[in-house]
């Protein structure tokens, strides 16, 4: 019948009505599915640097009493820190930008056989991991960002520090100094060294030394340290600072130092002290700490006038440090302020300086961790390190006069003659890591030098030892500890 044929005819039309091409519109036009790895590297590096400059360093500077914050962001002075900031750093900067994004970049670099690019990425990740494990103690490492694992298990410090050393070793092995061209190497999009693999190699070796020394009081790493320092390895050891791992900023608003931005955005609230012509003389929210001032004055250390500036009304340069935690502040005229060398628009983020390299070496030699080397090498390394530190301010308004540099180097003790040479080196490490306070805090927890008074008003009875695991991770990860370790629980590498 006509009706039957009719139905069959129309049904055929409908069967043909699914056309796969018509439905193929689900490719996202708003985003890319493949990008140059250097762009991910830059994003991760900036994200990490922003956290260091805005939070990690200022918080740690209060923790280990490099300076005392007043007026704004004073919480860390009594070990109060932002929970939201902690959460965001863990989730967004750390695991998303530095770990996950760079894992993807690493995958594409390795697939393409670009060894140097892979090395650059790995070194950056190792640098990031060190921040994490130092800060939180235990965190997911081996199971982090593994497809299919939605509840990564937490690894302890021993596993993670070794893991960081392994990553650095892989990177060092992969570096090919003879082929530093774009493609094999990230050149144009490398925010740290612009593709200079010699510098990257130096950075990797110095970072490795830092990590080995970090665990040196709880593990016997003398063999590894020996091997590293006795080899012909490249380190960041240019006293001029040319090889320093410093993340650079520009004197323009779009690319300026994040820490500076905090001051610059609140001039209306008196962040800077102005003279009668409206010029900025010094900032007003970071005071010189009593701890630091006492140490520097005791040794007549010329760096005191580079770290700190006196108040505008002070006729001379004698300053009185402010006590961290609850307590009276010095009279305004006596106060010292973290100098404008550090609070400036184009101040770099100090990742690893030559001074730190030398002082770690000095400690290794002094402790007898390196076969065939002793106090003499330690002395030389000490003097190089101090020299590099004194030279750090060259070319700026805070340049230390040559005569003062010479006098101070001459006044350094003979390590073989004093009773606690290692302790002296530790003290110099504490001083030299000024502004890289996050690293200073890690180093202090290892060395416990100098002895620091617990600030009045702190909720615990020791210097703060770690930061809590963010609540989002505890809530969402069934394999996380039920409760976060408390802030006074020592971390893995502590003496």
């Amino acid at each position: 019948m006509t009706m039957k044929k009719f139905i069959i005819f129309t049904l055929t039309i409908f069967i043909l009505s699914s056309c796969e091409d018509v439905l193929d519109i689900n490719t996202n036009p708003n985003a890319s599915t493949e990008v140059p790895p250097g762009t991910l590297l830059t994003n991760a590096a900036i994200s990490l640097s922003q956290n260091r400059l805005n939070t990690l360093n200022p918080d740690a500077a209060a923790f280990i009493q490099h300076w005392k914050p007043v007026v704004v962001l004073t919480g860390p002075d009594t070990y109060v820190y932002s929970q939201i900031g902690n959460n965001n750093f863990w989730t967004f900067t750390f695991y998303t930008d530095v770990i996950k994004d760079l894992n993807l970049a690493l995958l594409s670099a390795e697939e393409a056989g670009n060894n140097n690019a892979a090395a650059q990425i790995k070194i950056t990740q190792a640098f990031g991991w060190l921040h994490g494990v130092d800060r939180w103690g235990e965190m997911p490492f081996t199971e982090s960002n593994v497809p299919g694992i939605t509840a990564p298990a937490f690894d302890d410090g021993e596993v993670i520090y070794q893991g960081i050393i392994d990553i650095l070793d892989e990177a060092i092995a992969a570096i090919d100094l003879s082929n530093q061209s774009e493609g094999n190497t990230i050149v144009e999009f490398d925010p740290l060294y612009a593709g200079n693999m010699d510098n990257w190699l130096a950075f990797a070796n110095s970072l490795k030394l830092r990590v080995l020394m970090r665990v040196s009081y709880v593990e016997d790493r003398s063999e590894d340290i020996s091997q590293l320092l006795n080899s012909d390895a490249e380190f960041i050891d240019a006293i001029s600072g040319d090889e320093n791992a410093e993340f650079q900023y520009l004197p323009s608003r779009e690319n300026q130092n994040f820490d500076y931005a905090t001051f610059d955005n609140f001039t209306g609230l008196g962040s800077f002290q102005l003279d009668e012509n409206g010029n900025r003389v010094h900032q007003r929210w970071r005071l010189a700490s009593k701890t630091m001032v006492d140490i520097l004055e005791a040794d007549n250390d010329p760096r005191i006038n580079a770290f700190f500036q006196p108040n505008i009304t002070n006729p001379g340069t004698d300053i009185e440090g402010a006590v961290n935690g609850g307590g009276p502040l010095p009279d305004i005229v006596d106060r010292g302020y973290v100098s404008l060398f550090y609070i400036r628009q184009d101040k770099s983020d100090e990742w690893l300086l030559a001074s730190e390299q030398y002082l770690l070496e000095a400690e290794a030699y002094a402790r007898g961790l390196v076969t065939g080397a002793g106090m003499a090498e330690a002395q030389e390394a000490l003097e190089n390190g101090i020299q590099a530190s004194l030279n750090h301010f060259d070319g700026s308004d805070f340049e230390i006069a040559q005569s003062e540099k010479d006098a101070f180097i001459a006044s350094l003790p003979d390590l073989s003659a004093i009773s606690e040479p290692v302790e002296y080196i530790h003290l110099q490490q504490y001083i030299t890591l000024f502004y890289n306070s996050n690293e200073a805090w890690s180093n202090w927890r290892r060395t416990k030098v100098p002895e620091l008074p617990v600030p009045v008003g702190a909720p615990i009875e020791t210097i703060i030892r770690r930061i809590e695991i963010p609540s989002d991770e505890l809530d969402n990860n069934p394999n996380s500890p039920a409760v976060s370790p408390l802030i006074d629980l020592p971390v893995y590498f502590e003496r």
Partner: protein
């Protein structure tokens, strides 16, 4: 006589004789002729239609015994011919509309009695009682099972409808809106995040209630299986008005004026003013100062002032808003076609200063029959909205209004605030620090211009009475141009800024149908619909944020030193569907319906993008099968339905992507941008897409049973439905721990069940010649439960909240648990007190309540006496909790009456001091609290934890009242006027009961998203009242 009979019979044998019968059909109520009545010679296919004068002429073959007369709104009448040649008929009104025709999917009309699922209609007239500017709000309290939440009262604000509970934890829960068979957009697109922005509105607000003939609510997958995925949550079918055939041209003019003011403002105290610990502090925003005794002091602007109370300061900020609606429409029709043209102009100003909205709607609709059995119809609608000024919500933006205005210190005069500029033109701050709301409304203006066109064209061919082939294509497209200014001198953006967002959305829908409607034999007939559907949706947004203006008055990108443009294709979806709907009926009393639809959806992976879902429904009109005592049980029907529908997801969720970076986050300020030292930055997404080929559609399976009973000759009607909807394979963004490198992962997991029942009770307690009283009750109770979640997860987040409290879907609980901070208590429920301070101790992550209500009930009454008509509607929502940040902050700041009592007394909180606790926080030893604290400390801690902001969300509202009078028609018998009706009306007139103090519980901070039950500094909702005149010619 014998001779005559023989003659007649000879004649009937020899000639097939036809008799011509003529007559007039009039309506029984008004005795007026009815055009368009179907006249059928029973047992034949011969029929005709009454003309414009109600007259007909039909030639029936000899032997036909019955003529049937049928028309919508009247009871079908059967008249025996009995050799008459003139048969006049009086058609009794079908008051209860037993043969009511209901619009179902695709605009197909079916008799309600044949439907196997619950359907409820709202007549267009209901929408005009106290017109709402967002028509979604008009459904409040009128349809069982439909929950309407309006988010705020600003012009252009949004509204959310959920039918039978939330089916999807993170996906869409709102129904599909269909106009004249074409699905339309109801988008609510955010330009900047909702936390710091105005209410963006949703697009259903463009629809003009004056153009609507009827809104039909299809409540679940049962009714919407034919619409496929987009209607998994139900559908609201809107039929616009059209002319009728054979209807003389009529013109209707309608004019309404209404005035709005706040429905409820907090119950302020007027004894104490600004300050702390009973000391006056002119910079304080809290009222813990001394009693306002008239002393002089220096206020925050540096002027001498008197310390006195201004009880009406907040009230004075809110102006009386007005809404003026004028509409004209023209409709009519001839024998072969009909048309309607409607024009409406709406002018609204809100209760916040400088908020205005103007809208013009044009609606054109026509249909026409052509030769050779072709027919065609079309509809075209244009909606043009110009919104100049909208309020910013919340508290995180300096432009937020209510968070400043509702918290004015009690000694602060609104006149002082009105002065928002200093003599030198610089901005005058509120309390020296915050942005002045008058500055915000006058200078930092939000504008939105919407131009929308939607319409359809249809062409069809009806070659035989039983076959209908048609093709309908519809388009809905609009552009919305948004702009938000931040003037130079504003707090936080001293150099000025603005953002613009140009949104373009387009939907195309094409339906091709073949319908066969045939009687198999006398008892059986079938109705088969076969069709193919193509639907495409596209949304794009062109956004730019411009900062640092050179010329402070020029808001164009060229004038900004920094521009951050973002272009995004927000959505692009194509769905192709093929479906059938087979209906069988037996004796017009037993019905069976089977549907099936197969969809191909572009948002799912190729392997899974095709799926089929069926439904079966049946109904039996028992009163026509069995003899019932009809004076008691006039009509009885039972119905049952089982159906399944799937739904896809949004576009572009399947690939892992990287985004170019522009701004760089920093702790304070927005300075750093890419490129960084010349290097561009990209970041990977923090959402993990599903592994390729794995994502499946969400599938909702529902079953429903119900009954429709009418008693006492339709004086009382009862409609009862019980349903169960289970939605599996929820497509959710599962929160993953940060250590996976992702914040969320998109997976299929989780099952949500909604079950409940609906009751519609109608009664006409009094029906006399002059006086009628009709009453109806709509009741809906829904229980929602998450019965399955991915392994190891006890809950998932309900997305949408940005700050505490948050919402979660816990296993074996209703979706919408409110989670936040609470006071620590011992096992007896007493507060744990800090031994050092005397204040309570807190803990996080507690379940504080649930936003899901117990039931909703609407009660409508209508009284008519001659031409006078009075109706009112009560709306009752019972149960569920909500969180109000406003109430917490009003109390913590000493603004409201309860904080003014006993201020000078020291207070010992009713709790126990915690002396020793275990590692898990449980108390080991305590002692009764004896530490005195000030009243300021006691109240001041009330906004420390979310628990103190949780309240029962129950309310009873007098939703609308209308009193109208239709002038007696005999006055206009010899004039061009048809009817003249005047009325007064009011909407949201009173909050008869509310468990929450100070605010209207019916607001939503996050707009129409899934994050409901949370209020934070919303603008007060409005009550409106006014009058209306309607004239027809």
């Amino acid at each position: 006589m014998f001779m005559m009979l023989t003659t007649t019979s000879i004649f009937s044998v020899v000639v097939a004789q036809e008799n011509t019968i003529t007559g007039t059909v009039i309506g029984d109520e008004d005795q007026e002729p009815i055009p368009g009545v179907n006249v059928l010679a029973q047992g034949t296919t011969i029929g005709t239609v009454t003309d414009i004068n109600g007259q007909y002429s039909i030639s029936v073959p000899e032997g036909t015994s019955l003529l049937t007369f049928s028309f919508i709104g009247f009871q079908t009448k059967e008249v025996e011919i009995n050799n008459q040649s003139v048969i006049d008929v009086v058609m009794p009104s079908d008051i209860k509309q037993l043969t009511e025709v209901v619009v179902t999917a695709f605009g197909i009309e079916k008799e309600e009695k044949s439907l196997g699922y619950a359907v409820q209609d709202v007549d267009g007239e209901e929408l005009l009682k106290a017109r709402e500017t967002n028509i979604a709000n008009s459904l409040a309290g009128k349809v069982a099972g439909v929950a309407v939440t309006s988010s705020s009262s600003s012009p252009g604000s949004s509204s959310r409808i959920v039918i039978r509970g939330n089916n999807s934890i993170s996906g869409n829960n709102q129904p599909l809106y269909v106009i004249d068979g074409i699905p339309i957009s109801n988008s609510n697109i955010a330009s900047v995040d909702r936390f710091t922005s105005p209410d963006y509105g949703n697009r259903i607000t463009d629809i003009n209630p004056d153009d609507i003939a009827k809104m039909t609510v299809l409540k679940g997958p049962s009714a919407t299986a034919l619409y496929g995925q987009r209607a998994a949550n139900g559908a609201i079918i809107i039929t616009t008005k059209q002319g009728s055939r054979n209807q003389k041209t009529s013109v209707t003019i309608n004019s309404s004026v209404r005035f709005d003011n706040p429905l409820r403002l907090p119950d302020y105290q007027n004894i104490y003013g600004q300050g702390s610990v009973s000391k006056l502090d002119s910079a304080s925003s809290a009222n813990w100062g001394p009693a306002m005794d008239g002393r002089t002091f220096t206020n925050a602007n540096g002027n001498q002032d008197i310390y006195q109370s201004y009880p009406d300061n907040v009230d004075e900020f809110y102006e009386t808003g007005h809404t003026i609606i004028n509409s004209v429409s023209l409709q009519g029709g001839g024998e072969k076609g009909a048309y309607r043209l409607g024009l409406t102009h709406l002018d609204q100003s809100g209760i916040a200063p400088e908020t205005n909205l103007e809208r013009i709607n044009v609606s054109l609709k026509g249909n026409q029959d052509f030769a050779n059995n072709f027919y065609s119809s079309f509809g075209l609608n244009y909606a043009r909205t110009r919104n100049d000024g909208r309020v910013t919500n919340g508290f995180n933006s300096d432009d937020a209004i209510a968070s400043v205005v509702n918290f004015m210190p009690r000694n602060y005069s609104n006149d002082s605030l009105r002065n928002f500029r200093n003599p030198d033109g610089s901005p005058r701050y509120f309390l020296g620090l915050s942005q002045n709301p008058y500055w915000t409304q006058n200078e930092n203006v939000y504008t939105s211009n919407i131009d929308r066109i939607f319409g359809f064209g249809q062409i069809g061919w009806r070659p035989t009475e039983w076959l209908d082939i048609s093709w309908k294509i519809g388009v809905d497209t609009y552009t919305e141009r948004r702009k938000k200014l931040t003037a130079v001198g504003s707090v936080g953006q001293a150099e000025g800024a603005f953002w613009t967002d140009n949104i373009f959305e387009e939907q195309i829908n094409s339906d091709f149908f073949i319908r066969i409607n045939r009687d198999i034999n006398q008892d059986f007939s079938f109705d088969l619909l076969v069709g193919q559907n193509y639907n495409e949706q596209y949304v794009e947004s062109s956004f730019n944020r411009a900062q640092q203006l050179t010329d402070p008055l020029l808001f164009i990108p060229d004038n900004a030193r920094l521009n951050s443009p973002e272009f995004e294709v927000v959505d692009h979806i194509r769905i192709i569907g093929a479906f059938f709907d087979l209906g069988l009926s037996y004796k017009n009393a037993l019905f069976l319906n089977v549907t099936g639809r197969n969809d191909w959806n572009s948002t799912l992976p190729k392997e899974n993008n095709s799926f089929f879902y069926p439904s079966v429904s049946g109904s039996a009109v028992i009163s026509e099968l069995i003899a019932l005592p009809t004076d008691i049980l006039t009509f009885a029907k039972v119905r049952a339905n089982v159906s399944q529908v799937g739904s896809g997801t949004n576009a572009y969720l399947l690939d892992f992507t990287y985004n170019p970076q522009t701004d760089i986050f920093q702790l304070f300020g927005v300075d750093n941008t890419y490129p960084f030292r010349g290097i561009p930055g990209f970041a990977g997404s923090d959402r993990q897409p599903p592994p390729p080929g794995v994502l499946q559609p969400e599938i909702s399976t529902s079953w429903e049973i119900g009954t429709d009973l009418r008693f006492f000759d339709n004086a009382v009607g009862l409609d009862f439905t019980y349903y169960n909807v289970t939605t599996k394979n929820q497509i959710i963004q599962l929160t993953t721990p940060g250590s996976t490198g992702f914040v969320e992962a998109l997976i299929n997991a989780g099952t949500v069940v909604n079950r409940g029942f609906e009751i519609m009770l109608t009664a006409s307690p009094i029906q006399t010649t002059n006086f009628n009283w009709n009453s109806s009750v709509n009741f809906g109770r829904n229980r929602n439960e998450t019965i399955e979640l991915p392994d190891g997860y006890g809950f998932v987040e309900v997305p949408g909240t940005r700050t505490d409290p948050s919402l979660r879907a816990y296993l074996n609980q209703a979706t919408g648990a409110i989670v936040g901070s609470a006071w620590r208590r011992d096992e007896n429920g007493k507060y744990l007190i800090n031994p050092l301070t005397g204040l309570r101790l807190e803990e996080n992550d507690q379940i504080l309540g649930n936003i899901t209500p117990d039931f909703q009930l609407g009660w409508q009454n209508e009284f008519s006496y001659k031409g006078l008509n009075l109706s009112f509607l009560l709306d009752w929502r019972q149960g569920g909790e909500m969180h109000s940040q406003t109430v917490q902050d009003l109390r913590a700041g000493g603004h409201v009456a309860e904080t003014a009592v006993n201020r000078d007394v020291a207070y010992i909180d009713d709790g126990v001091i915690l002396l020793e606790e275990a590692a898990d926080g449980s108390p080991i030893s305590t002692r009764p609290n004896d530490i005195p604290i000030t009243y300021q400390q006691f109240w001041g801690q009330l906004n420390d934890v979310d628990e103190d902001g949780i309240f029962d969300a129950t309310y009873i509202k007098l939703r609308e009242v209308r009193l109208s009078y239709a002038l007696p028609s005999r006055w206009f018998d010899n004039s061009p006027f048809g009817t003249i009706e005047v009325g007064v009306e009011g909407r949201n007139l009173a909050l008869l009961y509310s468990a929450i103090p100070h605010i209207d519980p019916e607001v939503s901070f996050y707009g129409p998203t899934n994050a409901q039950g949370i209020e934070a500094f919303n603008m007060p909702s409005t009550r409106s009242f006014g009058g209306n005149v309607r004239i027809t010619f």
